[in-house]
Subunit: 178 residues, 2 copies
Amino acid sequence: MSDFINETVATQLKKNRTGKGWSLDVASQHCGVSKAMLGQIERGESSPTIAKLWKIATGFNLPLSAFLGVNNEQTSHIQGLLADKKVSINTLFEFDKHTGIEMFELCFAIGHEQYSEAHQTGVLEHIVVTCGEMEYFCGDQWHRLNTGESAKFNADQAHGYRNVGNDLLRFFNIIHYP
Amino acid sequence: MSDFINETVATQLKKNRTGKGWSLDVASQHCGVSKAMLGQIERGESSPTIAKLWKIATGFNLPLSAFLGVNNEQTSHIQGLLADKKVSINTLFEFDKHTGIEMFELCFAIGHEQYSEAHQTGVLEHIVVTCGEMEYFCGDQWHRLNTGESAKFNADQAHGYRNVGNDLLRFFNIIHYP
DNA sequence: GCATATTGTACGTTAAAACGCACGGAAGGT
DNA sequence: ACCTTCCGTGCGTTTTAACGTACAATATGC
């Protein structure tokens, strides 16, 4: 349930305390919290209030987050190489219902082109070209993008991309769903 | 004294709750915490335990740090932006109120590092490294990213970036505001 | 006008955080 | 052996977080 947060606080507190070479007694003096309480927290027997945890954090000269194990979902992807395929699509960020964002990196071989059906209304695509030259189709015509250029367009219509340079094309695609 | 932490939790809770258009009752159902308690916390009349605050945070689909207003006293010297040529920031997409997205490309000289203050709650940053090796600071530690890797983290806390490689660092930063 | 939800607050009780003190164990000194 | 000192834990009490319910507000409907 929510016991894991107590566990992380327990381990972090003990690690920080012993790391400074403090006994429960001296830690108590620094923090203004009884050593009995500190012991109970370290054993996971009690869940401190944030007021007390703040006193502990300031006593340790550390930010509050040092005791919370910081749940900031970081995900890391290694870039998938395109062997001898014509195209590779690498998902950098899966669709997130909170932000409405998903992000891909695409690699196109020379001359390759690809089309996509219309998405639902309000969907926006963001293109950033990191390598090569491309054109993207939107509305009723093609638009050119060189390396380092970027564009934003409505994707609630048929659209497409193609490599028009003499090298590998790499570009990012950030899609936002309303 | 240590009352200020209760104040920040109080204001953050009320802001997040009303921001979602939730009453104390529905917030209680989402979090599994009595609405009487939520009311007392919002009025600063009681200091929740971290276990309860964690239940609240998960009920709101927010990180714990969203309620703690982290961080004070963290050495954050804001570097002169484009004055010296140690860093360049290129705006690819201006902030769009419809998508809540803005996007930058950043270039750091060798060894350069830069910090940013906490953004408003719920702000998410997406990092994609296109060249070089970097580390980003988030929560209470640095996280490494090599070329081609990416990461997503909550930016409603003090955070930073630094070039830890032997070459120019290039990375994209997509910031999403809720 | 009178009902009927819906909101946030106040009250009384229960569970638990937090305190102070005392206890057993381990390390060091004489 | 001994005494001393420091460590962490257990116990009893006080404080308070947390709960459930009832209450006074403010709207919406008939």
